[in-house]
């Protein structure tokens, strides 16, 4: 009889770009100017699209929206680490991942306006629609990763979940399945410190959220989620492992939700300005801008021209969203593969009352 240690685990933290935009020379990944600028521009576009979305909601031109503000780096850098054949399933706060995959902006505006067609993503974008019930998409991601593995074509799956989502049963079941099946999956926990009004400290007693991977035999790491380079590096490494048959990885990206949970939320009820202001100093875009400037990849003019382009792109997308004429018959068309007799009858009734449209 003896008492001995049967398991020991630890979790690394990775930051490459500090808050002043200075990169750690040893850790800095060798990325081309092209990819660095793409990363920066995607973050800029994300912030502009996000800002526009909040405004559209306030003007009554769009429905409830979940702002990304402050979390641009996580979704952008992670999605840019994907290969063409990889797949992504973000949450509603990483829709910039869809943009990275080539989903047209108008689709996203349409979705938030309450038009189902917004989730009909084009073939080839390898994007899966997000789920509103928290964490319930994670088993789908495991299943998709399973299918990719079964197909035998070195593809990987990337998904996200919030800090609140790590409390859901589906989170744990999914990591467990992913570990047992050794599927090519990368799960990024976007720890933005707040699940609506419940702080990270009340979500879990564990020191990091990354360490939850240890319990499922899954390699894990915590990264600075406002550092696009750290996110990109960690996700890239994890994707390489996934594609080469080394199984899943869990990454905790520590960031902060600078804005509301959704446009229906008032964060002043539950958190202090002081806390929010502290996080302002760690802004992911500001930091990356400084980094690019040091690398002589940024000028005021360059950013102004990019913003001009994005503003035009956004306006065009909004115009498409507003021009879209939905058809109320569609609600009957996609329930089953065929419209049943029962539904035909109800569709006729709908037509009788609302055939001329509703005000």
């Amino acid at each position: 009889m003896a008492r001995r240690r049967v398991y020991e685990g630890s979790v690394d933290y990775l930051q490459i770009l500090n808050e002043k935009g200075v990169a750690d020379k040893k850790l800095e990944p060798k990325l081309s100017p092209g990819i660095l600028k793409t990363m920066f521009e995607l973050m800029l576009l994300t912030r502009a699209y996000d800002d526009k979305s909040v405004k559209l909601q306030r003007q009554g031109r769009m429905g409830t929206y979940a702002p990304i503000l402050g979390q641009e780096a996580v979704g952008a850098a992670a999605a840019l680490a994907l290969g063409k054949d990889d797949w992504v399933l973000p949450t509603y706060r990483e829709t910039q991942a869809y943009i990275a995959r080539g989903v047209p902006l108008e689709k996203l505006f349409m979705y938030w306006k309450g038009i189902e067609e917004g989730m009909n993503f084009p073939e080839g974008t390898n994007s899966f629609p997000f789920a509103i019930p928290i964490g319930t998409h994670l088993p789908h991601a495991v299943g998709i990763a399973f299918a990719l593995k079964r197909a035998g074509r070195k593809q990987a799956m990337l998904t996200f979940v919030g800090d609140g989502g790590t409390s859901q049963g589906d989170f744990h079941e999914s990591l467990n399945f992913a570990g047992v099946w050794q599927v090519p999956l990368v799960v990024v926990i976007v720890n933005n410190h707040w699940a609506i009004s419940v702080p990270r400290s009340e979500q879990s007693a564990s020191a990091t959220l990354a360490q939850k991977g240890l319990g499922y035999g899954i390699p894990c790491i915590q990264v600075d989620g406002n550092d696009a380079l750290a996110v990109y590096k960690a996700v890239s490494d994890a994707l390489i492992n996934a594609r080469s048959g080394k199984g899943p990885t869990l990454i905790e990206a520590v960031t902060y939700r600078m804005s509301m949970h959704t446009t229906a939320d008032d964060p002043t009820k539950y958190r202090s300005d002081k806390e929010v202001n502290e996080w302002k100093k760690r802004d992911p875009i500001e930091r990356f801008r400084k980094y690019l400037q040091k690398k002589k990849l940024w000028t005021k003019n360059y950013e102004a021209r990019a913003m001009e382009r994005f503003s035009k792109q956004i306006d065009e997308a909004v115009a498409k969203m507003e021009a879209y004429k939905g058809d109320p018959h569609d609600m009957f068309k996609y329930v089953w593969s065929e419209i049943t007799d029962n539904l035909k009858e109800q569709m006729a009734e709908m037509e009788k009352f609302y055939g001329a449209g509703k005000p």
């Binding site: 189902e116 067609e117 989730m119 009909n120 993503f121 899966f128 629609p129 789920a131 019930p133 319930t136 998409h137 994670l138 088993p139 789908h140 991601a141 495991v142 299943g143 998709i144 990763a145 399973f146 299918a147 990719l148 079964r150 197909a151 049963g169 589906d170 079941e173 999914s174 467990n176 399945f177 047992v180 569609d330 609600m331 996609y334 329930v335 089953w336 593969s337 049943t340 007799d341 029962n342």
Partner: protein, 325 residues
């Protein structure tokens, strides 16, 4: 070949696994053990662990991962061991399995068959015998099937495995080993969404499905001896339901008794009788009746016989309905 329903389902899964490489069986103990009801017996040995997979013990993930697989073009067949454990996966069925086609406007569809042994009558523990069909029928986007005989089970499951829609396949536990009947060895299909007239008659329509069907057939045979000639409608697919067959039968007979073991309130009989009232009201010669489980928690095994509809209750309901002029 004479087979029990469990053997007929096994034979179907065997044939379908051989026919379509996209089919994958997964669930708790479905592999080496062949399933707690032995429905997947022998398939692990024949098709290997890549196609017949034992999973960790978590119903939500079994269904949730199947959703991801199906969206990517595989055809997973997840098994939940007992109906009472299907609730841990219910949010996956309700929130995602039923809605993916609609949510994505047909971009992603989920051709999966969720097999759930349902209903009581096998003297098992609590949560091992629940009449759960209404919970699934209530979800637009899901095809709900409840076979009533070994022959029916094989043909309906083969169709489910070709369906473009997600199917909840409710297998009546009570009938798994109740009796054997002749089941063709070759592959055949029975279309989903079509009811069958299990026995033709003219005096009254006895409408049922799944586990109660053989009992209702016996009751009908006995009633015939007593001078009443009932028609028995076996619904087969509960959603989308074949309302035309129900309506036609009731228009012909003018009377209806609906039988199921699920609780009475909002049991499927409520919907069936509402449809009869909408479509065949002026053909009715008597108020429709329903014979169902009581609106109680289903008793543990010592008391379960007092819960389920049986021949005595069914025959009495038919006679009462016939007595109305």
């Amino acid at each position: 070949m004479k087979l029990t329903m469990a053997q007929a389902i096994n034979a179907c899964l065997d044939q379908e696994l051989a026919r379509d490489r996209k089919i994958i069986l997964l669930g708790e103990d479905v592999g080496v053990d062949g399933g707690v009801f032995r429905v997947t017996e022998g398939l692990y040995a024949k098709y290997g662990k890549e196609r017949v997979m034992d999973t960790p013990l978590a119903e939500s993930a079994i269904v949730g991962t199947s959703i991801g697989m199906a969206a990517m073009g595989l055809r997973p067949v997840p098994e939940i061991q007992f109906d009472g454990f299907s609730f841990m996966a219910y949010h996956q069925v309700l929130c995602h399995m039923a809605r993916m086609r609609n949510r994505t406007r047909g971009r992603f569809t989920l051709p999966l068959v969720l097999r759930i042994p349902y209903g009581g009558g096998i003297k098992a523990l609590e949560h091992h015998g629940e009449g759960i069909e209404s919970l699934y029928i209530h979800l637009p986007g899901i095809v709900v099937v409840a076979p009533s005989t070994p022959y029916e089970a094989k043909g309906l499951l083969a169709s489910a495995l070709e369906s473009k829609d997600p199917v909840v396949f409710l297998e009546p536990k009570k009938l798994y080993r109740a009796y054997k009947e002749e089941v063709p060895e070759e592959r055949y299909t029975i279309p989903l969404g079509k009811a069958r007239i299990a026995k033709e008659g003219k005096d009254i329509s006895m409408i049922t499905y799944g586990a109660q069907t053989p009992m209702v057939m016996e009751a009908a045979a006995e009633l015939e001896q007593e001078g009443i000639n009932p028609e028995v409608v076996d619904l087969r697919t509960l959603n989308p339901c074949d309302w035309d067959t129900v309506t036609e039968s009731v228009r012909k007979t003018g009377r209806a008794v609906v039988v199921h073991e699920a609780v009475k309130t909002l049991g499927f009989a409520s919907e069936i009788i509402a449809r009869i009232n909408e479509k065949a009201f002026y053909h009715l010669q008597a108020a429709p009746k329903r014979v169902t489980g009581w609106d109680t928690i289903i008793p543990l095994l010592a008391g379960e016989d007092y819960f389920f509809p049986d021949k005595s209750r069914v025959k009495a309901a038919v006679k009462e309905t016939m007595a109305e002029k």
